[in-house]
Symmetry: C2
Subunit: 416 residues, 2 copies
Amino acid sequence: MNLDTPRGTRDLLPNETYVRNEVYRKIREVFESYGYGEVETPAFENFELLAAKSGPEIEEEIYAFEDKGGRKLGLRFDPTVPIARIVASDPSKPKPMKYYYITRMWRYEKPQQGRWREFWQAGCELIGPSSVEADAEMLKLTQECLKRVTNTEFVIKINSREVMDELAAEAGVKEEDKDEVFRALDKLDKKTQKEVEDELIEKNVDLNGFRTMLMKIEKGEVNCESEERLMKIKRKAEEMGVKNLEVDYSIMRGLDYYTGFIFETLVKGSEQIGSVCSGGRYDSLIGIYGKEDVPATGFGLGVDRLLEVAGITETSSSNPSQADFYIVPVNDSSRNEALRLTQELREKGFRADTDLMERGLSKQMNYINSLKIPYALIMGPKEIKNSEVTLKNMETGEQIKVKRSSLTEKLRDLKN
Amino acid sequence: MNLDTPRGTRDLLPNETYVRNEVYRKIREVFESYGYGEVETPAFENFELLAAKSGPEIEEEIYAFEDKGGRKLGLRFDPTVPIARIVASDPSKPKPMKYYYITRMWRYEKPQQGRWREFWQAGCELIGPSSVEADAEMLKLTQECLKRVTNTEFVIKINSREVMDELAAEAGVKEEDKDEVFRALDKLDKKTQKEVEDELIEKNVDLNGFRTMLMKIEKGEVNCESEERLMKIKRKAEEMGVKNLEVDYSIMRGLDYYTGFIFETLVKGSEQIGSVCSGGRYDSLIGIYGKEDVPATGFGLGVDRLLEVAGITETSSSNPSQADFYIVPVNDSSRNEALRLTQELREKGFRADTDLMERGLSKQMNYINSLKIPYALIMGPKEIKNSEVTLKNMETGEQIKVKRSSLTEKLRDLKN
């Protein structure tokens, strides 16, 4: 039988979940300190809902299927659509709504380094406010989340759909060519101008508009009305303590999605890895599902990529939540007392374990070594008689006798 | 557009996730104190793997679908099969393996009260030991998890497949009738003996064996070899402090699955609700996937049902992670200073929030009330000039002035 996980998915074992749980705890703390509450939505949604935003061609990129009642469903590939559904389905809820999520999603794409078909994302949505402060809060939260998880330095690049629209209009880019021109600008960090222009020609897009826009951007001659709002967001975020903010008119994300401010977050010096965290303002999304538009801003953070960038995908221990102390009965007559001590230590809050396989001393010691448990508490008839244990430091091999009466104190010291 | 979640699924909003996160934290602590490490497996598995345990007819009860590469997949409906896959795929891993999970699963069944198509389960698997102590640890962990989460009193009913097999053989139940007879015994808490026997007759099962078994069970005349092991498990668990253990020869769970010790956990006085937590020994499951059998024992706890039984499905606050303190700028000129104070409080670890919607005083106060935020810190030009805030207790309406210099201390007092 094929025992592999389905293509593009993988198991997370304790050495990975342990690191992730720590990261999730930190991210939770950040979001909750800003008044965000966690939401969890179903793994699958009605396909119609998923397609409303991205069009029916999204089916090619996701896991879509029919249930036994003939209802077409799809595994969610994006956290914002379900949250927009929640907002649209109850317009009376007080605004702002501050929602965060830490959850997994699925995309049917070619698996490659750091790209999984099942992947984890954390992020938040701030629904209601259209203010500069709301967008600045996204930048602040991004920085706080990243700072709590890693020492890696990031650059946050910001732009605005409104600025780009204005610029495109000024440069004479035709409305129907706009998205292609924006995509071309976005590609310039990976491709040459020649390559990008060849692609535009192939798509029958007039090059003049593109070149005018590019020139203005390169010369820093972007003086349009919407620029002021972008600068206000930047200043407000900087006042809130956000560092390494850069306006970059070549970044263009989610053309079918964002309506104003957009941003992405790159590793300083390793920008080619791509964005770890990105987001922006999407004032027209909720209106697709409900009676009216609701201003909204948010961002998402790729957990898998963040862990890679931070170099903390796993711990060296195969089971880091395995016991700190392993109680070793040296023979069968010591088993009961070993289990009793184990229970006693667990009740005192220690992570303690003992042999459940009726193994001899040396096999137990091998197991302790293979799991990298730091201390063994060896108990034989002599130790039991003397109300003591033999405490062995598994790294140094050092052994000392410790009286049961002072054991708790001794183990507390070792843990600190 | 239909804005409902797919049938049998639902959104978890902050008032629910908040409670769940607390419960998960407690369950995590219990499992980790016993040396279990968390595992997370893909939402879907190769269908072949899922069907290997339960037969291809399982397709009727789960979400099964083909991916775009024509591979048949199914959403996992059980946590043990993926973990058995992990064990079977790397037989060299040191035993015991102690794995726990807190995750969701999917079953395509008729949705009803407390039965969801998407549901959460927590539990653990202890792989390697065949000892009595290992089974007793499951009972101890069950009790610890439940005790940490709720004051509700539970009865843990235990039985053993081996005892039942022996009893069936003695009573002359034919091998091919055994499962039906066991199911009939299991149904006796919900149906009369007449109803159960009519069903057996319909299935051409001889009633003599069934009646003999039932008589022996009712008279307490179960004296077979395997009973000794069951009693040892009971005694060991009781030594470890497990209360309310009852041997009950009428409980029969997972006939295609368990090989020895089995148990279920009922609410004392409300047994009709059904089992909140159940498990047992499954020494033949891993062998289905790998080269050889590996002894294993484990249990699963239905999170949704547990929360219902404990009466803690949600908090009264619509967003319990919303701020404890809301900083209210009374006019536009106070906004900057309000945001600054909010940031200052967040950095000190308070959950603080402020207006991001450029609202006036009364609308802000309405919002604070609707979210049940306990304290407002009102800031106008006068307060800013005097380096103070007006602290309002939203429940009592009481207002006092607090100097900025003593604000942190004051808010700490309020939080404690």
